[in-house]
Symmetry: C2
Subunit: 307 residues, 2 copies
């Protein structure tokens, strides 16, 4: 059994337009690195964080809290140290906290000989999400842990399903380096929706999932529509509509808000289109004067991996 | 080219718990029979209706209206006669009007050498539904025309998708012979729903469709939950909760309201379970003193067919 390992903890895109709070997918080219070790000294210690200004105290760190949740079930006397090399910026909307939580519990599980299922790891990682956002969301930690596209069918009880990933599907993500306060991105959402819009939304969720299984890229594109959250949240993201129009014009299947933003994602068929979409989005944002990062990635069907 | 043919126009179950207004499936053992003929005398004539007290006037008959919509696009000078042998009771909630509308346009299309796609036939049949209920619903005519399970992803524009049908899936339907007024089954539904319930509903829609594609019967069962419509409409159906409990206790994957009721459906894996579920439901309804019919059917993956 290894005593120490190094992992890649990927970024993830939650919601995917119609699938607010239930759908997510895993990226391949963006992610943190973590070195996780078993030690003879009981307790969870965050020994190093590079690339972000995050707390080292276990109980204030999402990775620390998630691993502690795992050890509380497995064996409280085990010692774990965690080094985190952040590449995913906090507040980007591509699952920065989820990568740390999910990566840490995945690594500890691996070091212990995999006593827990991926499904169980989701529940531990959700404790990290709870610390990060106040809500124990699973829509980023699930794709990070299971890879590919995931559906959180239910939170009560937790029921996470790994969906099929069409092989030519690519994702382009732009992260405008602005701060959108979580409280703002939440306060624009209404507690009630019209039944008519809700029906349209679940029709699209159905279409998207059917499209993923049948690898029908056009159906995936037609289903990437959000009539409930996007119209409200997109006002917080500069040039959202211009980015979306530019992406679609260059052949993207669909384009929407990644998680609660401010990142914007677009799905495309094939690498060439995904790169063209990146160029088009870059042109839009070059005119804003804002800093931004753009990522192009295939869908990572494996999730967290050893490096 | 045939001048006359006889068809089986199947009953259908719409909504399927979580999929209000978007999902439906097609039955095999319950359906109308129709004889449809081309004649030299222009216009659509309903020449005979057996088994139901329905209007013979073309413009008041759902089959007449649907065929007229088709001929308005194809050729107004064609003459069609329709005989309808109703086996599906009107107001049962298992797509009685849809069977007539869909069956008639399917038959005429067949007689004309299939100039229209199934998708186009859905739009014509929807005109019959509009006459029947005031709304151009597609969630019964789509499974009647396409067979199996169908998703109406969108009404604007119309986008109907045929889903996968797991081979061992069986359906049990009880039709309590009571009248539930359409106005009552509509008036209990609220125009707004909580976002929280809507999210739970589209999580279930996603789970059900994933379950249909992966033939994961347990996932199908877990997803057959309706937190929005069923709690409101079930009060109009005598012994709904008892029927549901009895069905689940006998191994049904799930149980809910068929369409707008009063019929109740249950999905099961395998014929033996579906029959056991029928027996259990029968026991519940035998105590009510109400008349009822029970149907057990495999899922009809073909839809309307020649007989």
């Amino acid at each position: 059994m290894d005593k120490s390992l190094k992992i890649f903890a990927p970024a993830t895109v939650a919601n995917l337009s119609c699938g607010f709070d239930v759908l997510g997918c895993c990226l391949d080219t963006v992610g943190d690195e973590m070195i996780v070790s078993l030690t003879s000294d009981p307790g969870v210690k965050i020994t190093k964080i590079e690339g972000a200004d995050l707390p080292l105290e276990t109980e204030k760190n999402v990775a620390g809290v998630a691993v502690q949740a795992l050890l509380n079930v497995y064996n409280k006397d085990i010692g774990v140290t965690i080094e985190i090399y952040k590449k995913i910026k906090a507040g980007s909307g591509i699952g920065s906290s989820a990568a740390s939580s999910a990566g840490a519990v995945w690594a500890v599980n691996h070091l212990l000989g995999n006593p827990f299922t991926a499904h169980e790891l989701v529940t531990f990682a959700m404790e990290g999400e709870k610390l990060a956002s106040g809500n124990a969301h699973a829509d980023n930690v699930a794709p990070a842990l299971l890879g590919g596209f995931t559906l959180v069918r239910s939170y009560d009880p937790l029921d996470v399903i790994k969906l099929n990933t069409p092989k030519d599907l690519m994702i382009t993500v732009i992260h405008p380096q602005i701060e959108v306060k979580t409280s703002d991105s939440r306060s624009v959402i209404k507690n009630n929706v019209s039944l008519k819009k809700a029906i349209r939304q679940w029709g699209n969720v159905g279409g998207l999932i059917a499209g993923l299984y049948t690898e029908d890229y056009k159906l995936i594109g037609r289903s990437l529509e959000d009539v409930i959250i996007e119209p409200l949240r997109s006002i917080l993201i500069p040039e959202f509509e211009s980015v979306k129009q530019a992406a679609i014009a260059k052949g993207a299947l669909g384009c929407g808000i990644s998680g609660s933003g401010p990142s914007i994602f677009a799905l495309s068929k094939g690498e060439e289109t995904a790169n063209n979409v990146a160029d088009a989005i870059r042109s839009v944002y070059n005119q804003t004067g804002l800093d931004f990062e753009i990522h192009v990635s295939k869908i990572n069907n494996q999730g967290i991996k050893l490096i």
